[in-house]
């Protein structure tokens, strides 16, 4: 236990990784939010969207605060839903900019986390992986002190590092449990999903089942073995780069740009979190 305790409490000499994480996550949140603006009402309003809120409401626990609940509450005071939505959008973007600036990092992240949860829990059917990773990122930015002298930096940095490793281990493990990741069928199915690429015709890959099997198994193994290779100085850079290449592939082939982007941010943060020597040149960015 002592060894583990010491491992969680090592000396920290720079916070570049945290600054990188804070700024890139803030930019990511602003762009991701802007991307959904044309459909904001379609997805998150009470009665003007694709699904009325009372249809979705049955699956939302009472303890969840979301945008439709706020709209309905403020309506009882005579505040129009359009004003509530506009106010929400302005506060959301403003908080993202404040977080990016680093001003009261923890408090800004906490408020933005609350706003992000309010939005993503507005309709349980319309949220996906990128939303959960956004919430978790903001949770870390709420928790991790921004002061280099804080004793909280080291253990919380380790927590983040462990989290990334657990996520990839299970991503690989879950895939290998399914028979279709062993014969190329899963990767074939994934690249031919209706939301996958329509820009590039990659159906010719169907003529090379061995290649598809290799890509599928390779991805699963890359993820499964992530925790075993990223801690080693000799293999760390290669492994993280390979995972980033995999996410770039996912972005362009499956059209999951935002999910891939946030996973790349997590990987780069993970990589930078090892470089906390004083000599690190980007320390004062």
């Amino acid at each position: 236990m002592n060894k583990l305790y010491n491992f969680f409490n090592t000396e920290q000499k720079n916070l570049f990784w945290l600054k990188f994480f804070r700024i890139s996550i803030s930019i990511f949140i602003i762009i991701h939010f802007a991307a959904v603006l044309p459909d904001f009402n379609n997805l998150y309003s009470v009665n003007d969207g694709v699904l009325s809120y009372n249809v979705v409401d049955v699956y939302i626990p009472q303890y969840i605060i979301n945008l439709p609940k706020i709209i309905l509450y403020l309506k009882s005071f005579g505040i129009d839903s359009a004003i509530t939505i506009l106010g929400f959008k302005i506060i959301f973007v403003l908080l993202a900019f404040i977080l990016m600036s680093g001003y009261y990092q923890n408090f800004a992240a906490l408020l933005l986390l609350l706003m992000q949860i309010i939005l993503s829990k507005s309709n349980i059917y319309f949220s996906y992986g990128a939303d959960f990773f956004t919430s978790m990122s903001l949770f870390y930015l709420t928790l991790i002190p921004s002061n280099i002298n804080s004793v909280g930096i080291s253990p919380l940095k380790r927590l983040f590092q462990f989290h990334v490793c657990i996520a990839y281990f299970f991503a690989g493990f879950d895939k290998l449990l399914g028979i279709n990741w062993w014969n190329g069928e899963s990767i074939w199915k994934a690249i031919n999903l209706p939301f996958a690429t329509s820009t590039y015709d990659i159906s010719f890959l169907g003529n090379y089942p061995i290649l598809l099997t290799s890509i599928g198994l390779g991805s699963a193994l890359l993820e499964l073995l992530y925790p075993f290779f990223v801690w080693n100085k000799k293999t760390s850079n290669f492994w993280i780069s390979a995972i980033i290449v995999m996410h770039i592939g996912i972005a362009f082939i499956l059209n999951l740009y935002f999910f891939s982007a946030i996973m790349i941010i997590w990987n780069l943060t993970f990589k930078f979190s090892f470089n906390n020597e004083k000599s690190y040149s980007l320390v004062n960015v």
Binding site: G129, F132, M136, W181, S186
Partner: protein, 187 residues
């Protein structure tokens, strides 16, 4: 003292991340292999996970998610299309259902898990069938309003079935669309 507190917080969060990962892995495994017999580990995970303060905490931090990323299996997907008819029942147009932005459409497609449940749910679950019907009505109503109520709407949900790698090698290259549900809407 502070050091120990942060250390403890870190270990607790690692435990929660592990718990979510193991739980979603087991759920995914049982669902894929149609294994209804849940073992002790599954039951223990479910029990801990149903502890309300933990549910609240994971809901407000995003830690409730699993990390399968297309594992154990890439699930089937669905395609929605609609036809518009004028008052003399003449077909005016046919479109695939899309929202105004790529991100909006991608989010909308996350709802397809509902149709997947419709396929896997026991056929005698009348309540769930009724729920799907309401969802279909809502989507149809949205399309109807989009065209200012000028046309009646015939909404169709198809199971999207791209040929398997094996079938593709045997020359089958066409995607099959199996009609799962249909809804006619006119106010």
């Amino acid at each position: 003292m502070k050091k120990q507190l942060y250390f403890t917080i870190s270990l607790v969060v690692i435990f929660i991340v592990l718990l979510s990962s193991i739980k979603t892995t087991l759920d995914s495994y049982h669902s894929y292999y149609k294994d209804t017999k849940k073992g002790q580990l599954s039951a223990a995970c479910d029990n801990i996970y149903s502890f309300k303060p933990l549910r609240v905490f994971t809901s407000y931090t995003g830690l409730e998610t699993g990390y399968g990323f297309f594992g154990t299996n890439v699930s089937s997907d669905f395609a929605l299309s609609y036809e518009l008819y004028d008052s003399s029942k003449k077909k005016i147009a046919r479109h695939n259902f899309k929202l105004d932005s790529n991100e909006g459409s991608l989010r909308f497609m996350s709802m397809n898990r509902l149709f997947l449940e419709r396929l896997t749910e026991s056929s005698d679950n009348e309540l769930f069938k009724k729920y799907i019907e309401i969802v279909m009505t809502e989507i149809s109503k949205y399309i109807y309003k989009k065209y200012n109520g000028k046309y009646s709407v015939n909404l169709k949900v198809y199971l999207y079935n791209f040929p398997s790698l094996k079938d593709y090698a045997n020359g089958k290259v066409q995607t099959e669309l199996f009609l799962l549900d249909e809804m006619n809407y006119k106010r």
